[in-house]
């Protein structure tokens, strides 16, 4: 049977990229899925309108945490307005496997956290 837990997803869960915090972020965001306790926070450093550095941190299921890692690699160097234009389809593509409605929420937590950070400054 096809599994959600492909090696790529598990790798990003076990070894999340861009994990931790930034000493002087220009933007910060946080979000939580209260129905399961998945939590994420993000620090970003925006320079000339582009994401120069990004760090995620949090706790929760593999899908929520791995999505954050995958997304962080995707947006590095991206313009702020392009980050705001990212849709849930971007996340689905990054995760790379079909998601049930419940897991969609897990996967989208990172995008919600990031876009919230971009809007805040």
């Amino acid at each position: 049977m096809h599994t959600l837990y492909q090696e790529n997803l598990l790798d990003h869960y076990r070894n999340p990229r861009n994990w931790g915090s930034l000493p002087h972020p220009t933007h910060r965001g946080s979000a939580e899925n209260p129905t399961c306790g998945d939590k994420l926070e993000v620090d970003i450093d925006v320079w000339h309108d582009k994401i120069k550095a990004i760090r995620f941190r949090g706790s929760g299921c593999a899908v929520s945490q791995a999505s954050a890692s995958l997304l962080s690699e995707h947006v590095l160097g991206m313009k702020k307005e392009d980050v705001l234009s990212l849709t849930k389809e971007t996340t689905f593509k990054l995760v790379g496997v079909p998601l049930s409605p419940v897991r969609v929420k897990c996967a989208l937590l990172s995008l919600e956290t990031l876009q919230q950070a971009v809007i805040n400054s």
């Binding site: 599994t3 837990y5 306790g37």
Partner: protein
């Protein structure tokens, strides 16, 4: 108790999915063929509306619907059909009570609930308190997963109008001493109204309205092998009479035209619109199904399996597993929730699902409970009559497999 093979044969889902290990009966129970047939028969042979038509088909439908009401009445030891109100589900039933009692509330009064409640027995009261400017008081639960009478009593005073609590927590699966709680509360506050959420009790243990002495009891049909979309509000007739009809419409009224509307008596005044006729018939059949097996035999089966499950989980996973609530299986109804180190409940449930094992993960619509326990989520296994030792072995083996992936 019949053999597992014989029981499973009565549930058509196992014919279509022979490898299914269904461990989520607390969310909804599977449906026996008898229940499906009785509903199908209504739709195919006499699907008329009830209490309205004057032709044989309508009389047939009305008779079957009222027969279902009688079956519920007998099952819970009520005395009159006026005490059995069909609703869409338990949530609807609780909302009927909360909305129906609104007129007796005013600022300064209070409502007592507990922090182990399902959202359906928490939010209607929270909203009622907000609308009427009454206070919502939330009593804690014992760490072993049940409610203590004296602890609940501490939260009542002379301004308490209603206390609402669950007979069995949908997370812990542990029985609270309902009769004792009600006796103790009434001894000090004889006028207080008491609602019991019996969703995880009905179909597992004997529910006797007379013994419990609650004003209101609610449950959902789909958790006792009946269809979705049907529930029951029951209780003392005098207490049900206190509810002003809020779900009004067709079927509820004697005189709709006069300035002062005249409503019918119980139960019709609280059953607005065309009810879930097939659902009620299905529920009646589900009750007969349970009675044919015997509630004591059903409960003993659950207790035996729960003991095996708790032993298997603790022996296999030792310190890495935390069972929520008492490990004393005789106090449970087949529900076991736990936290396992190294894997989030969502991931565990997903991986088990990929191996055709259905468990529930999350906060099970009980966020005050999870907040009180400082937990984000838990995994819940709920056993029923179509589960056996083999299902437990498959579950343990599947959990081990899931853990390998995460280590």
């Amino acid at each position: 108790m019949q053999t597992i093979h014989h029981i499973k044969k009565q549930f058509p889902i196992f014919e279509n999915r022979p490898d299914l290990v269904y461990l989520d009966s607390a969310a909804t129970a599977l449906k026996p063929e008898l229940v499906l047939q009785s509903m199908d028969e209504y739709y195919r042979n006499y699907s008329a509306n009830i209490s309205r038509g004057l032709y044989p088909l309508a009389e047939c439908a009305t008779t079957a619907f009222e027969a279902a009401r009688e079956k519920v009445l007998r099952f819970i030891h009520a005395e009159s059909p006026a005490q059995v109100i069909f609703t869409a589900n338990a949530t609807h039933a609780i909302n009927l009570v909360a909305l129906g009692l609104e007129e007796i509330f005013s600022p300064g009064m209070n409502i007592v609930v507990t922090s182990l409640e399902h959202h359906s027995n928490y939010l209607p009261w929270k909203e009622l308190a907000k609308r009427t400017k009454a206070t919502l008081r939330v009593a804690p639960f014992h760490k072993d997963g049940f409610l203590e009478p004296q602890e609940l009593l501490k939260h009542l005073d002379n301004q308490t109008r209603i206390v609402a609590f669950s007979a069995v927590s949908n997370v812990f699966g542990v029985q609270s001493p309902v009769e004792e709680i009600i006796k103790i509360l009434r001894a000090k506050y004889p006028e207080v109204l008491i609602l019991v959420d019996a969703c995880q009790a009905v179909g597992h243990i004997e529910v006797d309205l007379l013994k419990w002495d609650a004003d209101y009891v609610v449950f959902s049909g789909h958790k006792l092998f009946g269809p979705t979309g049907i529930g029951v509000l029951t209780g003392k007739e005098a207490s049900l009479k206190l509810l002003s009809p809020k779900n009004v419409g067709g079927g509820t009224v004697l005189d709709a035209c006069s300035t002062e509307t005249r409503y019918k008596k119980l139960p019709e005044n609280l059953e607005g619109g065309t009810p879930n006729i097939a659902g009620a018939i299905g529920l009646g059949t589900a009750i007969e199904f349970i009675e044919s097996l015997g509630i004591d035999a059903l409960h003993q089966h659950e207790v035996n399996l729960t003991k095996l499950l708790i032993e298997a989980l603790t022996n296999t996973f030792g310190d890495t597993i935390r069972i929520l609530g008492t490990t004393e299986s005789s106090k449970r109804v087949g529900i076991v929730s736990f936290i396992l180190k190294g894997i989030h409940p969502h991931d565990l449930a997903h991986l088990l699902g990929e191996q055709d094992i259905s468990v529930r993960a999350g906060e099970h619509c009980a966020s005050p409970l999870h907040l009180a326990m400082e937990l984000g989520a838990s995994t819940r296994v709920s056993l029923s009559l179509y589960n056996d030792e083999q299902d437990i072995e498959k579950l343990i083996s599947a959990i081990k497999k899931a853990l390998i992936l995460f280590h």
